[in-house]
Amino acid sequence: MADFFAMGGYAAYVWGSYLVVALVLGGLLVWSRQQLKSRRAALARLKAQEDRRTEIAGGEPEQTNSTGTPQD
């Protein structure tokens, strides 16, 4: 087991390499998911805001609202 961690005296280089790859690729995944989550949350907020506005306007169907906003 100790041999496994020692990597024949090259532990820093071998484990360092695997660590960098894990951090960079893992970090990319975490960052991408976080970005997607916050963008979707912002979209949902925007939609709620629009829904409130149309309610206040008495549910009047607005011209611009019928262009078929893509739904998630």
Binding site: Y10, V14, S17, V24, L36, T69
Partner: protein
């Protein structure tokens, strides 16, 4: 930016990005399988590379670095090639998904290239006695890394993101010249980096017991790219929708103000 221009692009957005819903539905169904394959690949590839492969008679245990270095370097080039193809499709056929795929690929390609550079450096120190040398292969891969960074910067540099994506895609096509330079750099400037030992005209020269775990790690990285790409494409798509929704809201506010006054 005059308003009519914005209006036009917003309307275009709605219609142009209506279709991709089907693509994302399919991608979402495939994604769990891709992540499953990545986990399986790592579960097999990592112990193989880190434990079962015998230390090389010349390089000792540093040879284990190869199992992340070489797949990362392959992906650095593969992602760029895919990005260039997607850019071409986006520019010629104005396909919105291709445009999104190209822009979504750039950070993934940059990450793989960074991994290839750092692991190469960590392998070079004990084996060549230096972290870095301005050798043909290393320099050309470093240039590839900068090309990725420039692509990311370009795609975000314009007020109108659609224009940014288009400029970035043209840039990606020009930058494709780096791929043959990287591939043949080890032959043209044979200074330090070894030449190809897997993808050769006369077949692999690498020992089969080392080739198999390398191919498994390579395939795992490949699948990881597609899995990450789906997440990033979702994110780019959300950014496009967010912008068009904001523009639509702004326009509506302007018209209601005009009506009120």
């Amino acid at each position: 930016m005059p308003l009519p221009q914005d209006e036009r692009t917003t309307v275009q957005m709605f219609t142009r990005f209506a279709q991709p819903a089907r693509f994302f539905a399919l991608a979402d169904r495939i994604a769990p399988w891709l992540w499953g394959l990545v986990i399986l690949g790592l579960a097999v590839g990592l112990p193989w590379a880190l434990i079962f492969v015998q230390p090389d008679y010349q390089q000792g245990d540093t040879v284990r670095i190869m199992y992340v270095h070489v797949p990362a370097a392959w992906m650095a080039m593969f992602v760029y090639a895919s990005m260039a193809i997607a850019s071409f499709v986006a520019l010629v056929w104005r396909h919105p998904l291709a445009e999104i795929a190209a822009v979504a690929s750039a950070p993934i390609g940059a990450a793989f290239t960074f991994c290839a550079l750092v692991t190469g450096s960590l392998w070079g120190k004990p084996m060549w006695g230096t972290y870095w040398e301005w050798d043909g292969r290393m320099t050309s891969v470093l240039i590839l890394f900068f090309i990725y960074l420039a692509h990311i910067a370009l795609s975000q540099a314009f007020e109108d993101p659609a224009q940014g994506r288009r400029i970035a895609n043209i840039f990606a096509l020009v930058g494709v010249l780096i791929l043959p330079i990287i591939k043949f750099s080890v032959e043209w400037w044979n200074t330090l980096h070894q030449s190809a030992s897997v993808f050769r005209m006369d077949g692999p020269t690498i020992e089969p017991s080392m080739l198999w775990p390398l191919l498994i790690m390579g395939l795992t990285f490949q699948v990881l790219y597609f899995a990450l790409l789906i997440v990033r494409m979702h994110s780019e798509m959300a950014a496009v929708r967010l912008r068009s929704s904001r523009l639509a809201l702004m326009r509506r506010e302007q018209t209601s103000e005009a009506v009120a006054s």
